[in-house]
Symmetry: C2
Subunit: 226 residues, 2 copies
């Protein structure tokens, strides 16, 4: 598992480099005047966890606060310095699962199917916070271990957007859009969930399985349509 | 790596079970009278190797012959009992990579991007036999180890078909078709390569990354279109 983890980290680094070095235009068009096509950003979310403040303190100690490690594209959200080890059935673990901040009102672990298979879990595809029929797992931190009764999910791919973007695409919160990814193994990911919030920037989140399937690091174009 | 390998095997077993138990109609329509829509089968190819008879003997000993372990959907082709260990750069290995038979006139290793990342290789997407710009690797068998100078590829997803299927879809060998996979995270895989051969049965091959991206085991419908 450590080898897989290093590999995914490497791929993410490669993604980040390709974003900056190879084809910046492929990741999102440059800012354009108001009224024109919104700037579309597509990012791959690697496996990660969300925790409540209470669970954070059980894992890292009384009064512990998440420390931002890297700010994410959506304002106010960050990858934290803190990571946990996720323990599944059959003595299998995935170490170094990063916590995203800030803390939430529910703890949740988001894995790709490849991760879930490695852990021995059968996951439902769910939007954040919907834990119906989802398995649990143990989370281990330096100060303690907690049992998540449920909340391990494959996070349904989705697109964050604000009200202006919703108007542009003619959708509402909870609506659906398709994403075309052009590459040497391109695809249309169908029925992406629209998640509208007033402060959100237009950004699609796919997971590492989807990113690997479509050769995300070498994608030449992204297109969001109804 | 062994954990990942076991996981993929488990997923394949789960796939096979779901094929038989859950939704046989999802894997391909039942046989229909001649002249109607052809029966479409979609299968996930896990990582595997092809070898020349010469390389086989270097790996398994003088005069060795591949032993069929499981017959594949295409007549005459089989997963062999023989497996090799693939060794990439940086002391990383993937054990138990199955050889598919019969022997070919070139040796080749086909990996998903997830495997390639785990091995530390950057792969091109190529059709079988096209080894342009592809990296090499070491292959280890019980009788010896060989260096493949190149030929490690992500096999481009493709659809096998015979002349009658080509007529039905209005394509020729080397043409392109799209595959829609309906599931709770469905997608249209665009521009599948058409590989026509007189004796081929209609069958799409996608890899484990694509299978995981679209939740193949729970797919409810496959549709091939131009």
């Amino acid at each position: 598992m450590i080898m897989l983890d290093r590999g995914i980290v490497e791929r993410l680094v490669r993604d980040a480099l390709s974003k900056q070095l190879e084809a910046p235009q492929a990741r999102g068009r440059p800012e354009e005047p108001a009224g024109s096509v919104p700037k579309l950003v597509v990012n791959v979310s690697a496996r990660h966890a969300h925790v409540t403040q209470e669970d954070l303190e059980r894992l890292f100690g009384k009064g512990h606060q998440l420390k931002p490690f890297k700010w994410l594209y959506q304002d106010g959200f960050f990858a934290a310095e803190e990571t946990v080890t996720v323990i599944g059935p059959r003595q299998r673990i995935i170490p170094n699962v990063r916590i995203l901040g800030p803390c939430r009102d529910h703890s949740q672990i988001e894995l790709a199917f490849t991760d879930a298979v490695a852990l021995g879990l059968d996951l439902p595809v769910r939007k954040s916070g919907d834990h119906r029929d989802s398995p649990g797992a143990w989370m281990m931190g330096p100060a303690g271990m907690i049992r998540l009764e449920r909340g391990v999910i494959r996070h349904e791919r989705h697109v964050h957007m604000g009200p202006t973007d919703c108007d542009h695409y003619g959708v509402k919160d909870g609506g659906r859009l398709h994403l075309r990814i052009k590459s040497d193994c391109g695809a249309v990911l169908e029925d992406l969930l629209v998640r509208m919030a007033p402060a959100s920037k237009l950004e699609v989140h796919i997971d590492t399985d989807e990113g690997n399937a479509v050769n995300y690091p070498r994608a030449t174009k992204f297109e969001l349509f109804k």
